[in-house]
Amino acid sequence: MSREEYQIPTGSASASVGGGAGAGAGGSSSYNAPAVRDYTGSGADGGTMYYMCGDCAVRVPLEKGAAIRCQKCGARVLYKERTKRMVQFEAR
């Protein structure tokens, strides 16, 4: 699968794309890559998508066909989550 292909931001199988290439030499690397973040929450059940509440920044699970509304504060503005892929930049 191409790296550039769209991936639904659920499911934990594709969570480790990319990864900051660690400078490993001599084999005795004491550098531990950061743990892969769990974006799906503990109860990952395929059809649930997560969004960010525009008001209180809480993660809102949304089922198909559910009302677009934050469970915590009731705000009706939800944002898509950021890509979980590592993005590389030059520090210039």
Partner: protein
């Protein structure tokens, strides 16, 4: 007419750049062959040795000031440019962002991270670490990072509500945990032999731990790793070892006719503090015929104390009462350097390194020229 060798005063006069109210004279040096009839002036190592000297004014780790006296502007400028653009330092070059939900954009955050100056053990930085070259084949990039050319850093930070905050608290730094991300939050991840060179006091850490990188609010997160490489200032300013390296020419103030009494005090105020001092006219000076001090015994006169502190503002030339009494100038071969280190090198070491670098480049050029002629 036989040629007379120049007097000492004449040689001194030739070194001075004249500074007038609105013009500057004698900008270019004239100590080269065929400029003065009958005088040689070709460059000579012994003559250079005789005339050259170095004075240190202050020498702190982050700021050094010293004078090179008796050197040509071309060489002085070469040292300055070498210090700025050719002395290698270590800086963040690549940023791998896993997550960044802060208000600061990935690109801007990466740029800010790149500009943070870092320090570390000198042996490791200058001897152990080598250059990293990007492989021409893109697929080989990930296997080009070794412990001797790449330093790994990490920044993992999340902002949360602080439960212990007092009710009614409005200061975000108290209301939330990690509301501000500082340079000290960056974590060094030693790899391979790097432990040997960068541990304890020699660890790689930001020179200024209080540099603000980003501001967060609860729920926001920055999670990234970084690679540092060696580079030179000609590639990017973040690699420059100096905040600034500059020089100025030594100011010359010549009081040609006495400035006395209230005029002397006004004259002193035309200059930065400490440049002009006030002295009493002595009986001996007052007795001297034609000195301009006759009958002024006991009055104050202006004397030049420390011309180096002068900014050459030319304020004194604006006032009618000092017309014809003072001459301003600069010594063309006296360079007062100011080198401010960003922390990875000692300030004076940067200059020594610049000298070594220029020497090496001259040797390389010599080899090329020899090859060309052959």
């Amino acid at each position: 007419m036989p040629h007379k060798p120049p007097t000492k005063e004449e040689l001194e006069r030739r070194k001075i750049v004249g500074i007038n109210e609105e013009t500057i004279t004698d900008v270019a040096s004239s100590d080269y062959p065929l400029h003065y009839p009958g005088e040689e002036h070709s460059w000579d190592i012994d003559a250079f040795r005789r005339g050259f000297s170095i004075q240190f004014h202050h020498n702190d780790p982050f700021e050094a000031s010293f004078s090179l006296i008796g050197i040509d502007a071309s060489i002085a400028n070469a040292f300055r440019r070498t210090m700025i653009a050719d002395i290698p330092t270590l800086a963040i070059e690549t940023v791998f962002i896993n997550n960044n939900t802060s208000v600061i954009q990935d690109e801007v955050l990466s740029h800010r991270l790149g500009l943070i100056p870092f320090k570390g053990g000198h042996e490791g930085l200058h001897k152990f670490l080598k250059w990293w070259r990007k492989p021409t084949d893109e697929t080989l990039v990930n296997s080009s990072y070794y412990d001797y050319n790449t330093v790994s850093l990490r920044l993992e930070i999340q902002c949360e509500h602080n439960d212990k905050a007092a009710p009614g608290e409005t200061d975000p730094t108290k209301l939330y945990k990690h509301a501000h991300v500082y340079a000290r939050d960056i974590e060094f991840c030693p790899v391979g032999r790097q432990d040997r060179y960068f541990s304890g006091a020699d660890t790689i850490a930001p020179v200024n731990p209080d540099i603000l990188i980003a501001k967060l609010r609860p729920g926001q997160e920055i999670s990234l790793s970084m690679h540092m490489h060696k580079g030179v200032g000609s590639d990017h300013a973040k690699f420059s070892p100096v905040a600034t390296a500059s020089y100025r020419l030594m100011p010359v103030i010549n009081i040609e006719r006495p400035i006395l009494g209230a005029d002397a005090e006004k004259f002193a105020r035309c200059f930065p503090r400490g440049v002009i001092g006030l002295k009493k006219v002595t009986a001996k000076e007052a007795a001297q015929e034609g000195s301009g001090y006759e009958g002024h015994e006991g009055e104050v006169k202006a004397v030049v104390v420390d011309p180096m502190r002068d900014t050459v503002s030319r304020e004194c030339l604006r006032h009618e009462e000092f017309k014809g009494k003072v001459k301003l100038g600069r010594r063309r071969d006296h360079f007062i350097y100011l080198v401010e280190s960003t922390g990875q090198w000692e300030s004076d070491a940067i200059f020594l390194e610049a000298v070594a670098h220029l020497k090496k480049r001259a040797r390389d050029l010599e080899k090329q020229v020899v090859n060309m002629v052959r």
